[in-house]
Symmetry: C2
Subunit: 172 residues, 2 copies
């Protein structure tokens, strides 16, 4: 009845980041005949005081790589947050996937005993398991869903299958 | 390094459903002095061809209880999808939480060997573990995030902390 922390996160973050790449590619294809630039989409928001698409993508990547950086000894790459073009954002997602691909189940040894702290909540921490289940996973999906919603609410033809991505369907 | 399928899902679905109750309560409180009825919010959508808030709440509940129904021998309650008022929706969420509260880790014995099928994808299935990681969890967060986004984009004062809910913070 067990799931390793690795299998509940690393391959699934990669699957969803790949779905995000496909979603952005669909937006680009949808926009081209209408002369909609991806740079326009990257600045769009669901509300004036919510973050724009570009930032949603950056944060989704940061949660996935920060997760590995906090729970394993494998140092994550630092991104400068200078993305502007479609290729820049695809490249950031791909670099995040490349980092995740380098993580191995055994890198998570002892993760339960780590204390996970955040600069915005001094004096408080989550233990490793709570960090995975209560923070990293929901936070990651929050930003990918919001990225999807920004494109979807502006007309890009997407369905939930694009968000769920390439699941491991088997044939009977 | 192990997480049981139970702890990666059941308590966390309850935590997030409780967060959803709080989000709806905040929307009600925000709307009252402005004479905004919750019934109005329940019919709002991010796009004309996306589902309204009421349906997002219903589906989030259905994913959580359907998850238990598919993977354990504990039969989930059937809901008639007749909710109209704030109290109706809060009650549906609470009934879903009550069902989840009755699930025990041992109810998931043998879940890995189950084949999970959907009427909209005949001839295909996900195995138990893939269903949990690739389908149930992301799908659940997709609908809760979309519910949050519908309220947020219409002015309700919410932050990501409302979505993440009552995490198990410890003091150093």
């Amino acid at each position: 009845m067990q799931i390793t922390v690795f299998e509940s996160t690393v391959p699934q973050f990669m699957l969803t980041l790949n779905a995000l790449k496909n979603i952005l590619t669909k937006a680009k294809t949808w926009g081209e005949p209408k002369k909609v630039e991806m740079e326009t989409f990257f600045q769009m928001r669901l509300a004036p005081d919510m973050l724009p698409l570009g930032k949603q993508i950056q944060i989704a990547c940061d949660i996935a790589k920060g997760f590995g950086n906090r729970l394993t000894p494998v140092t994550a790459p630092v991104f400068e947050d200078t993305e502007k073009t479609f290729e820049d954002y695809i490249n950031r997602i791909q670099k995040t996937m490349n980092y995740l691909e380098g993580l191995k189940p055994e890198n998570f040894a002892g993760y339960e005993s780590k204390t996970i702290e955040f600069p915005w909540y001094p004096g408080k921490f989550l233990n490793g398991k709570d960090f995975v289940i209560q923070h990293a996973i929901p936070n990651f999906y929050f930003h990918v869903t919001t990225a999807y919603a920004i494109l979807r609410t502006n007309g890009v033809e997407l369905g939930k299958g694009d968000f769920l991505g390439n699941q491991n369907w088997k044939t009977k």
